[in-house]
C-alpha cells in the first residue's frame, strides 16, 4: 500500500493478483462467486433437465450423484459463503470509516485460499470423478469402502483449505470492526450490516474448526485406514452426523445473517425511515447465533435418537424462530408509514421478506418432529432449503448487487433490465420450488436421479424444470446487465440512493484510501444528520455513551480469536477421544493401560514450566531487559523441545509394540488428538524462534509479537493439561 504509485503502473494482472486493498479483494470475491454461481447454476440445470420427466436417461446415476453433490458444495462453499464475505470485505471498512481491513495480507491470503479450494474441488472431475456422497458426505457412504474414487479426498482438502481461509476472514473482520472504527463510531452505532457481519464472523470462527476436525478424521479414515466413522470396525456412523451438523447448523446462519444485514440496510433507505428497533434486531442476531449451536440434531430427527433427545432439539429449533420472526416484523414496521421507492434493490428486498418467510415457516414445521419424520429427505426439504437460501439469501444478495454496484463501479445497473431480472427470477423461482413442496408431500424422495411414473409426478417435475429455465433466463439477464453497465452504464455519483451510512460519504468508486474526509459521527445515520441539521438522529435516538476512543490491540484481539477457534477444534478432537478412546475395551483397554502416565507426567511438567519461562521473557522485555528476555525465550524453546522428544519417545515405544494410528479406535483417537497437539507445539516453537530473533535485533513491535505468541503458548499448555488428564489420568 505504501508503494501505491508503483502499483498502478503494473499490468492489470499483477495489480489484481498482488493487491492488498480490501475493495479490490472484495471485487475479486464477487467476480469469483459470480463465476461459481454460473457453474453451480449449470449443475442445477442439468439436475432439473434430468428430472423433467420420469425415467429420463440423460445422466447416468454416477454422474447425477456427482452433479448434485457438486451443486450443493459449490453453492454453499463457493457461492453463498464467499459472496457474503466478499461484500463484507468491500463494505465493512467503508461503513465504519476505516482505510482498510485490520490485516490486509491475511485478507488477500484468505481470498487466494478460497480460490485454491474452489479449483481443487473441481480438479476432482479430472482425477477419477467428483465427490458423489452429497454435500454432507454421510458416513459410512463417504468412507473408502463405499466411495473409493478420490472425489471425497478432494472434497475434504478443498473444504479444509477454504475453511482455514474463512477462519482467517472471520478473525480479520472481527478485529477490523473492533479496532478500526472511525472516531464516534461506537459499537452501538455501526450499521446493522456491520453488526451482523460481526456476529457472523464469530460463528465462522467457532463453527469452521468443528468441520475441519471432522473432515480431518474422515481423511484419516480414508487415507490412514482408521475407523472413526466405520461401524463395521467399531466406529460410528452417527458421530459424523453430530459433528457435521454441529458445524452445519451454524453454517446455515453464516449464510443467512449477512443477508439479514443487507436487508437491514436497504429497507430503511428505500422507505426513507430509520430501521425500526435497531437494538432488537442487533440483539436478536446474538440470540440466533447462540441458539444456532444448540439445534444441530434437528437434522437428525429421523435417525431415531429417542423422544427426549429429539424434544430438546425441537424446543431449541422452535426458539430460534422467535428472534428470526422479530427481524421480519421489524423490517415490515420499517416499511410501514414510509415513502417507499421500489427500485430493483427494494423489489428484491421485499421479495426476500415474502420468500424467506415461506422458508422460515416450513422450517418451523420441521421442528414439529413427527412432521419432520414424514417430510424430511423428501422434495419438501429441497423446497425448504431453496426458499431459505435462494429466496432468502440470494434474493438479498441480488438486491445488494443493485444497491452497492453503483458504489463499487461508479455506474447504476439498468433499472429496466433489473425489473426483467426481478420478475423472471421471482416467477421462475416460485414455479421451481413451490411445486416441490407438493412432490415431497406426495412421497418423492430427494437425491434421486430418476423416479417412477406415479400420477402427477411427471407433470409437477416438468413444471419445476420450466421454472428453472425461467430462473436461468433471469440469471442471463442479470449477467448481461452487469456487463452492459460496466461498459456504458449511467454514472451514479457519490450517493445515488440518498443513503445515510458512511460508504456513501465518499466517491463512487472510492479512492484507494477510502475517504478524503469523514463526516462527524454522532448517530447511526451520519449522512442523515449532515443533511437534516434541524432534526438530526442524535437528538431523538439515544445510542449509548459517547465514543471513548479506546480501540484495543489488533495483535492481541486476533490471537484471542484464533485461540477461540482453536479451542473449538480441540474440543471436537477431545470429544472424539471421549467417544472412541474412553470407551475402549479389550485390546484397546490394554493399549490404554500401556501408556506411561508417570513418564508423560514428567514431560508435562517441562511443558508447564515453559509457560513460566515465556511469561518471564515477556516481563523482562517489558522492563527493557532484552538479553534476559532472549534467554527466557531460548529456555522456552528448549523446554518445548524436551516435551516433543518425550512425545516422540512415547510414539516410538507404541510403534514397537505394534500400536499405530490404524490399529484400534483408541489408537486412532489417541494419535489424532496428541498428534495435532504436538503439531501445535511445533508451530509454536517455530514462532518462538522467529520472535527470539525479533527480540534480539530489537525490531519494533517485538513486544506485541511476544505478547501474542506467549498467549498462544499458554493456550497450547492448557490444552495439553486437559489432554493429559483425559488420556492418561481418567480411567
Amino acid at each position: 500500500m505504501g508503494n501505491l504509485e508503483s502499483q498502478q503502473q503494473l499490468p492489470w494482472f499483477y495489480r489484481w493478483t498482488t493487491t492488498l486493498d480490501h475493495k479490490k479483494i472484495g471485487i475479486l470475491y464477487l467476480w469469483t462467486t459470480l463465476f461459481f454461481f454460473a457453474v453451480g447454476g449449470m449443475e442445477a440445470m442439468l439436475i432439473r433437465i434430468q428430472l423433467s420427466s420420469p425415467g429420463n436417461s440423460l445422466l447416468s446415476p454416477e454422474v447425477y450423484n456427482q452433479i448434485f453433490t457438486m451443486h450443493g458444495t459449490t453453492m454453499v462453499f463457493l457461492v453463498v459463503m464467499p459472496v457474503l464475505i466478499g461484500f463484507a470485505n468491500y463494505l465493512v471498512p467503508l461503513m465504519i470509516g476505516a482505510r482498510d481491513m485490520a490485516f490486509p495480507r491475511l485478507n488477500a491470503f484468505s481470498y487466494w485460499l478460497y480460490l485454491l479450494g474452489g479449483i481443487l474441488l473441481h480438479v476432482s472431475f479430472l482425477a477419477g470423478g467428483a465427490p458423489a456422497a452429497g454435500w454432507f458426505s454421510y458416513a459410512p457412504l463417504a468412507g473408502m469402502g463405499f466411495s473409493s474414487t478420490p472425489g471425497i479426498d478432494y472434497w475434504v482438502i478443498a473444504l479444509l483449505v477454504m475453511g482455514i481461509g474463512s477462519v482467517g476472514s472471520g478473525i480479520n473482520l472481527i478485529v477490523t470492526i473492533l479496532t478500526m472504527r472511525a472516531e464516534g463510531m461506537t459499537m452501538r452505532r455501526v450499521p446493522l450490516f456491520v453488526w451482523m457481519i460481526f456476529v457472523n464472523s464469530f460463528l465462522i470462527v467457532m463453527a469452521m474448526p468443528i468441520l475441519n476436525a471432522s473432515i480431518i478424521m474422515l481423511l484419516v479414515d480414508r487415507q490412514l485406514h482408521t475407523h472413526f466413522f466405520d461401524p463395521a470396525q467399531g466406529g460410528s456412523a452417527l458421530v459424523w452426523q453430530h459433528f457435521f451438523w454441529a458445524f452445519g447448523h451454524p453454517e446455515v446462519y453464516i449464510m443467512a445473517l449477512p443477508a439479514f444485514g443487507m436487508i437491514s440496510e436497504m429497507i430503511p433507505v428505500f422507505s426513507r425511515k430509520p430501521i425500526f428497533g435497531y437494538t432488537f434486531i442487533a440483539g436478536s442476531t446474538v440470540a440466533i447465533a447462540l441458539l444456532s449451536f444448540g439445534v444441530w440434531a434437528h437434522h437428525m430427527f429421523a435417525v431415531g435418537l429417542g423422544t427426549h433427545f429429539n424434544a430438546v432439539f425441537a424446543i431449541g429449533s422452535m426458539l430460534i424462530a422467535v428472534p428470526t420472526g422479530v427481524k421480519i416484523f421489524n423490517w415490515i414496521a420499517t416499511m410501514w408509514g414510509g415513502a417507499i421507492r421500489y427500485t430493483t434493490a427494494m423489489n428484491f428486498a421485499v421479495a426476500f421478506l415474502v420468500e424467506f418467510v415461506i422458508g422460515g415457516l416450513s422450517g418451523v414445521m420441521f421442528a414439529v418432529v413427527p412432521i419432520d419424520w414424514q417430510v424430511t429427505d423428501s422434495y419438501f426439504v429441497v423446497a425448504h432449503i431453496h426458499y431459505v437460501l435462494f429466496g432468502g439469501t440470494l434474493f438479498a444478495v441480488f438486491g445488494a448487487v443493485y444497491y452497492w454496484f453503483p458504489k463499487i463501479s461508479g455506474r447504476l445497473l439498468c433499472p429496466k433490465l433489473g425489473k426483467w431480472h426481478f420478475w423472471v427470477t421471482v416467477i421462475g423461482f416460485n414455479l421451481t420450488f413451490l411445486v416441490q413442496h407438493f412432490l415431497g408431500l406426495m412421497g418423492m424422495p430427494r437425491r434421486v436421479y430418476t423416479y417412477p411414473d406415479e400420477p402427477w409426478w411427471g407433470v409437477l417435475n416438468g413444471l419445476s424444470t420450466l421454472g428453472a429455465i425461467l430462473m436461468f433466463i433471469g440469471a442471463a439477464i442479470f449477467f448481461y446487465n452487469i456487463i452492459r453497465t460496466l461498459r456504458r452504464g449511467k454514472l451514479a455519483g457519490d450517493n445515488p440512493w440518498n443513503a445515510w451510512t458512511l460508504e456513501w460519504a465518499t466517491t463512487s468508486p472510492p479512492p484507494e484510501n477510502n475517504f478524503e474526509r469523514l463526516p462527524v459521527i454522532k448517530s447511526r445515520r451520519p449522512l442523515w444528520d449532515l443533511k437534516n441539521p434541524d432534526r438530526p438522529d442524535w437528538k431523538f435516538e439515544h445510542t449509548g455513551p459517547e465514543d471513548s476512543g479506546h480501540r484495543g490491540s489488533k495483535a492481541l484481539a486476533s490471537v484471542k480469536l484464533f485461540l477461540l477457534s482453536e479451542s473449538f477444534f480441540f474440543f471436537a478432537l477431545m470429544a472424539s477421544f471421549v467417544i472412541f478412546g474412553l470407551r475402549a475395551t479389550g485390546a484397546d483397554a490394554a493399549a490404554r493401560d500401556s501408556l506411561d502416565a508417570v513418564r508423560t507426567g514428567i514431560f508435562t511438567f517441562f511443558l508447564i514450566a515453559s509457560s513460566g519461562t515465556v511469561w518471564f521473557a515477556e516481563r523482562s522485555l517489558r522492563k527493557g531487559k532484552t538479553g534476559v528476555a532472549v534467554l527466557g525465550l531460548l529456555a522456552t524453546i528448549g523446554l518445548g523441545l524436551v516435551f516433543l522428544s518425550g512425545q516422540g519417545t512415547e510414539y516410538l515405544g507404541l510403534w514397537k509394540e505394534g500400536i499405530t494410528v490404524d490399529s484400534t479406535l483408541f489408537a486412532s483417537s489417541f494419535f489424532t488428538l496428541t498428534g495435532f497437539h504436538a503439531f501445535h507445539v511445533l508451530l509454536g516453537l517455530v514462532a518462538l524462534g522467529i520472535t527470539t530473533v525479533l527480540v534480539q535485533v530489537k525490531r519494533k513491535g517485538a513486544e506485541t509479537c511476544l505478547g501474542a505468541i506467549s498467549l498462544y503458548w499458554h493456550f497450547v499448555d492448557v490444552v495439553w493439561i486437559l489432554v493429559f488428564v483425559l488420556v492418561y489420568l481418567v480411567k
Binding site: K273, V354, Q374
Partner: protein, 310 residues
C-alpha cells in the same frame, strides 16, 4: 400410490402426522398471509412513484417501539411453545418405544435392495412383503452397509436404518391394500431404485401368504438349476431348500411371485429377466449384480428355472 399420503393417510400413525400437519400448516399459513398482506399494503399505500420522488418529503422518522417489539416476541414464543408440546405428544403416539416386545419383521437395508425376515415364521424374502391389516406390526430396522431410511409415505413417517444399531417402527394399516415404500436416505449410486412394495392383507390372507412363503421347493433337476450352481449364483443369492444360503443379494425362493425386478425398476417378466441376466447395468446401472457374460442358452435355462420359483 394415492395422490397425497397426507390426505389419504392409511394408518393411525399417518393420520396423526396428517392432523398435526394440517394444524401447523393452518397456523403457519395464517402467519404467512398476515406478513404477505402487510407487505402488499405497504406497496400500495406507501409507494412513491419515481416521478414523485423529488416532491415527496421524508416521512416521520420512527426509531422503534419497545411495546410492539415485545408483542411480536411474546406471541410467536407462545405459538412455538404450543408447537413444541404438540411435537412431543406426537412423537409419543407415533413412535412409542418397543420395550421388550419381539419384532414381527426385521428389515435390513442393503445397497440397493431390502432383505425381509419374519423371525417367528422363519420366512426370508426381499423387496416385496406383506403385513396383516388392522393390526400393529413391529418392524425392526437394520442396515448391512450404509445408512438407509425406511419410508412408506402412506403408512408411517420414515425411520433411518443405521449400520451397527437397531431401530424400530410401527405399521398398522387400517385396510387391506398395496403401498409403495422407498429408501429416503441417500445411499449411493442406485438410491433412486431402492423401492419396495408392501401388501396389507386381511388376517386369513396373511396367514395363507405366510404359509406359502414357508413352502419350499425341492431341489430342482432343471438345466437352469445347474447353471445356477455352475455360475456360483449362490455366492450371493439363496434359494431355500437348496444349497444356496447366502444373503448378499436378494433371496430367490419365491422369486417368480414378485411383481418387479431389481427393487422396483421394471416389471418382473420373461423379457426383462432375460435382459437383466444379459446386462444388469442396462436395467439398473451401478447395481452390484455382476454381468457374467452368460450365453443365450444359459440365460434361457436360468429364466426357465427362475420362473418355477413361485
Amino acid at each position: 400410490m394415492q395422490l397425497c399420503p397426507l390426505i389419504s393417510a392409511a394408518s393411525p400413525q399417518a393420520d396423526s402426522v396428517a392432523t398435526l400437519f394440517g394444524w401447523v400448516l393452518g397456523v403457519c399459513g395464517c402467519i404467512f398471509l398476515g406478513i404477505w398482506l402487510a407487505t402488499a399494503i405497504c406497496s400500495r399505500r406507501f409507494r412513491v412513484h419515481p416521478h414523485e420522488e423529488e416532491s415527496t418529503p421524508d416521512p416521520k422518522q420512527i426509531y422503534g417501539s419497545r411495546r410492539l417489539e415485545l408483542i411480536w416476541t411474546v406471541i410467536p414464543a407462545i405459538i412455538v411453545g404450543v408447537f413444541a408440546v404438540a411435537a412431543i405428544a406426537g412423537m409419543q403416539t407415533i413412535l412409542p418405544p418397543m420395550g421388550d416386545q419381539k419384532p414381527d419383521i426385521i428389515v435390513t437395508g442393503h445397497q440397493w435392495w431390502w432383505e425381509i425376515h419374519y423371525p417367528e415364521h422363519g420366512v426370508v424374502t426381499a423387496n416385496e412383503f406383506a403385513i396383516p391389516a388392522g393390526k400393529k406390526t413391529l418392524v425392526q430396522l437394520e442396515s448391512a452397509d450404509v445408512i438407509h431410511s425406511f419410508w412408506i409415505p402412506e403408512l408411517a413417517p420414515k425411520q433411518d436404518m443405521i449400520p451397527g444399531a437397531s431401530r424400530h417402527i410401527w405399521l398398522e394399516p387400517y385396510e387391506p391394500g398395496k403401498f409403495s415404500g422407498v429408501c429416503a436416505e441417500f445411499c449411493g449410486t442406485q438410491h433412486a431404485w431402492m423401492r419396495f412394495e408392501i401388501s396389507s392383507l386381511a388376517p386369513e390372507e396373511f396367514a395363507s401368504w405366510i404359509a406359502k412363503q414357508k413352502a419350499v421347493a425341492a431341489a430342482s433337476t432343471m438345466e437352469g438349476a445347474k447353471v445356477f450352481d455352475e455360475m456360483n449364483c449362490r455366492e450371493c443369492h439363496s434359494i431355500q431348500g437348496t444349497e444356496a444360503t447366502a444373503n448378499v443379494a436378494p433371496d430367490l425362493t419365491h422369486f417368480a411371485s414378485r411383481e418387479t425386478l431389481a427393487s422396483g425398476v421394471v416389471p418382473n417378466n420373461r423379457e426383462n429377466l432375460t435382459q437383466w441376466l444379459q446386462d444388469p447395468d442396462s436395467i439398473k446401472p451401478g447395481s452390484h449384480m455382476p454381468n457374467f457374460n452368460l450365453s443365450g442358452t444359459d440365460i434361457s435355462a436360468l429364466v426357465a428355472y427362475l420362473e418355477t420359483l413361485r
